[in-house]
Amino acid sequence: MSETAKIILVLFQLLTLASALLVTFSPNILYASISLLFAFLGVAIMFLYAGADFLAGVQVVVYIGGVTILVLFAIMLTSWMYQVKLRDSRGKLIVPLLLALFGLLPFLYQGAQHLASRVLRTVPPDFQTFAYSPKTNAVGEALLGNYLLPFEGITVLLLGALVGAVWLARPK
C-alpha cells in the first residue's frame, strides 16, 4: 500500500472520529445527525481499505442513504418547525465522562490493542498488505451457500419490524 493511500486512510479515520465526537457532544440534534452522516462515510472508506468493497457500498446506501435520512425525518416531525435548533438540555456530563474515562475506555482500549498485537504475532505479516480483490462474488456465494439460513431467517425479522413500525407510527 503506497504511502499516499495510507495518509488518505488516516485522514478519513480522523474524519470519522471527529464526526463521532460531534454526534455525541453537539447540543443541536440536527448538527449531530449530519455529523453522523460523515462518520458513516468515513467508516465506508475504512471498509474499502479493508478490502470489503461490497460492504462499503452497502454501508453508503443503507446507512447514509436510509438511516440518516430517516433520523432527519424524525427530527423534523418531532420538534416544532420554527424551533429547528432544538436546544438540548445540558444533562450532567460528569457521570458519563467519568464512566468512560475510568470504566469502559481502559478496558476496551487495552483489550483491543492487546488483541491486535496478539493477532499480528500469529498471522504472517505479508498478509497485511493491501491487495484489492473484489469480494462481491465471494459475499454472494457465501450468502447463498453456507449462510443460506441467516439470509432466509432475517426476512422474518424484517417482516416483523415492518409490521410493527407501521402499526406503532400509524396515528389512530
Binding site: R118, N146, Y147, L149, G153, V156, L159, G160, G164, L168
Partner: protein
C-alpha cells in the same frame, strides 16, 4: 448439493412450519376482511403451534447433528426448547385473544408478531453460530419492543416500549461488540471451532476471553433479566399490556437460558475431573456466577415486598426465579442442568397462571393493585383456588411443581462442596418470597367477603386456568417421567 439442502430443510421443519403459517396469516387477513373480529387469528396460531410440535417430534427422532454448515444444531436440547416456545406462543395468543386490553381489531398484528417472536426464539435455542444467535436475539428483542407498546393510545405502554428499546438495543450492541472481540480472538464464528481454539490455548488468554465473555453475557443477561441487566423488567412489565407481560416473563427468559446454556457449555472447556471450567480459572467463574445469581435472587425478592401493584410484584418475582435458575449452572453436571430445565417447565406453567389471574382481575376491576383482589376468592372460587396453587408453587410449598424445581436446584447446590452459603441464602429467599405471595392470598381469601359483584369467571379463562393448574400439581406429585425427559435432553449438549 441440493440433497444436502433438502436434508437441512427437513431438520429445520418446525421453524419452516411457523414461517408457512405467517404467510397463511397474511393471505387470510388480506382476503377476508372481517377476520379482525372473529377467532381466525387464534385458530391459525393454534394450528401453527400444533403442527410445529408434530414437526419437532418428528425431527427429534433423527440423530443429533449440527446442520446448515454448522450454523444450527438439532438435538433433544433444541427439541425441548421448541416444545416450550410453541406452548408459550399458543398460551400467550390464547390469553391475548381473551383479554380486553388488546382491542379486537389489532389481533391480527399481534398474532403475526407472536409467531415471529417464536421463530426468533427457536432460532436462539438451536443456533450454534454467533451470527445465527445474534439474528435470533435481535428478532426477539425488536419485536418485543413493538409488543411492549401494543396498547394503542396508552402512555404507559409506549413509555414501556421506549425504555425496553433503549435498554435492549444498548445491551445487544454490547453483546455484538463482544462477538466481534471473540471473533477476533478465536478467528471463527462457529461454537465448535471457538471451543477448539479455547481448548488449544487455555492458559494464555488471561484478559481477552473474560472481557469478551462478560460483554456477551451482558446481552444474554438482559434477555433473562439477570442481576446487572434486570432494571428494565419491572417498568416494562408494569407498562406493557398484561398478556404481553405474561408472555415476556416466560418465553424470552427460557430462550435466553437456552442460549446461555448452549453458548457457555459449548465454548468453555469443561474439565469433568475437577468439575470446573478451566478456561478462565474454574473457581473464579463459579464464584462470580454464584454471586451474580445470589444478588439477582435477593434483589428480586426484597424489592417485591413493598409493592402494591401485583404486576410489578410478579415482575420482581420473575427476576428472583431467574436467580434460582442461574444457580443450577454452577454444578455443571446432568443433575444440576437437568434441574434448570425442570425448573423452566415448572416456572412456565405457574408464572403464566399467576399472570393470567392478574390479567383477568385487571380486565374485571380495571387495576392490578392489591386491593383489587379483595374477596375475589369467595366470588370466583376457581380463580381463587388456582391462584392459591400458582402462588404456593411459586413460593416452593411441597405438593406443587415449584417445590420440586427448587428442591432439585438446592440439591444440586448442596451437592457441590463450598456452595452451602448459596443454598442457605436461596432457602431464606424462598421464605421471604412466601411473605409477598401470602399478601395476595390474604387479599383473595382472608380479608373476608367482598360485598356484591359475584361476577362469574368466563369458561374461556376457567379452562385455561385449570389447564395450567393441573400440570403444576401433577408435576409436584409425580415427576419421574419428566425427570427422564429432562435428563435425556440435557445429555446431548454436555
Amino acid at each position: 448439493m441440493n440433497g444436502e439442502i433438502v436434508q437441512n430443510l427437513k431438520l429445520l421443519s418446525p421453524e419452516l412450519v411457523l414461517v408457512f403459517f405467517l404467510v397463511v396469516l397474511f393471505t387470510v387477513d388480506s382476503i377476508w376482511e372481517q377476520t379482525r373480529k372473529n377467532f381466525v387469528p387464534l385458530a391459525v396460531v393454534f394450528a401453527a403451534c400444533l403442527l410445529g410440535t408434530v414437526a419437532t417430534c418428528w425431527v427429534s427422532k433423527t440423530a443429533p447433528t449440527v446442520f446448515f454448515s454448522g450454523l444450527v444444531a438439532n438435538d433433544n436440547f433444541s427439541a425441548f426448547f421448541r416444545y416450550v416456545f410453541l406452548f408459550s406462543c399458543a398460551a400467550g395468543m390464547y390469553l391475548a385473544f381473551g383479554s380486553k386490553e388488546l382491542e379486537k381489531q389489532n389481533r391480527m398484528e399481534f398474532a403475526l408478531l407472536i409467531v415471529c417472536v417464536t421463530f426468533g426464539m427457536s432460532l436462539m435455542a438451536i443456533s450454534t453460530h454467533l451470527l445465527m444467535l445474534y439474528i435470533g436475539i435481535e428478532t426477539v428483542s425488536i419485536l418485543s419492543f413493538v409488543m411492549a407498546g401494543f396498547k394503542s393510545e396508552d402512555l404507559r405502554a409506549s413509555e414501556a416500549s421506549f425504555k425496553y428499546f433503549i435498554f435492549g438495543a444498548f445491551a445487544s450492541a454490547l453483546m455484538l461488540y463482544g462477538f466481534s472481540l471473540l471473533y477476533g480472538l478465536t478467528g471463527s464464528l462457529q461454537y465448535g471451532e471457538i471451543a477448539q481454539y479455547v481448548q488449544a490455548n487455555l492458559g494464555n488468554m488471561p484478559y481477552l476471553l473474560p472481557l469478551s465473555l462478560i460483554l456477551v453475557y451482558s446481552g444474554l443477561a438482559y434477555k433473562i433479566s439477570a442481576f446487572p441487566m434486570h432494571f428494565w423488567t419491572p417498568d416494562v412489565y408494569e407498562g406493557a399490556p398484561t398478556p404481553v407481560a405474561s408472555f415476556f416473563s416466560v418465553a424470552p427468559k427460557a430462550a435466553g437460558l437456552a442460549a446461555i446454556l448452549r453458548f457457555f457449555l459449548d465454548i468453555l472447556s469443561y474439565d469433568a475431573a475437577s468439575g470446573s471450567w478451566k478456561a478462565i480459572g474454574g473457581e473464579q467463574l463459579v464464584s462470580v456466577v454464584a454471586v451474580l445469581s445470589a444478588i439477582t435472587m435477593t434483589v428480586g425478592n426484597l424489592s417485591a415486598i413493598g409493592q402494591n401493584s401485583v404486576k410489578r410484584m410478579l415482575a420482581y418475582s420473575s427476576i428472583a426465579h431467574v436467580g434460582y435458575m442461574l444457580m443450577g449452572i454452577l454444578t455443571l453436571d446432568t443433575f444440576g442442568l437437568g434441574a434448570i430445565l425442570f425448573y423452566i417447565i415448572a416456572y412456565c406453567a405457574m408464572n403464566f397462571g399467576a399472570f393470567w389471574v392478574v390479567s383477568i382481575v385487571a380486565d374485571l376491576k380495571g387495576s392490578d393493585r392489591l386491593d383489587a383482589f379483595r374477596g375475589l376468592g369467595w366470588s370466583m372460587p376457581i380463580l381463587g383456588v388456582t391462584m392459591v396453587i400458582f402462588l404456593a408453587s411459586l413460593a416452593g410449598i411441597p405438593m406443587f411443581s415449584g417445590f420440586i424445581g427448587k428442591m432439585l436446584i438446592f440439591g444440586a447446590i448442596v451437592k457441590t462442596p463450598g456452595l452451602l452459603w448459596l443454598a442457605v441464602l436461596g432457602v431464606l429467599n424462598s421464605v421471604v418470597s412466601l411473605y409477598y405471595y401470602a399478601k395476595i392470598l390474604r387479599e383473595l381469601w382472608l380479608e373476608g367477603r367482598e360485598p356484591g359483584t359475584a361476577s362469574e369467571l368466563s369458561i374461556y379463562h376457567g379452562v385455561a386456568l385449570v389447564g395450567l393448574a393441573i400440570p403444576t400439581v401433577v408435576l409436584g406429585l409425580w415427576f419421574a417421567p419428566v425427570i427422564h425427559f429432562v435428563e435425556r435432553s440435557i445429555a446431548t449438549i454436555l
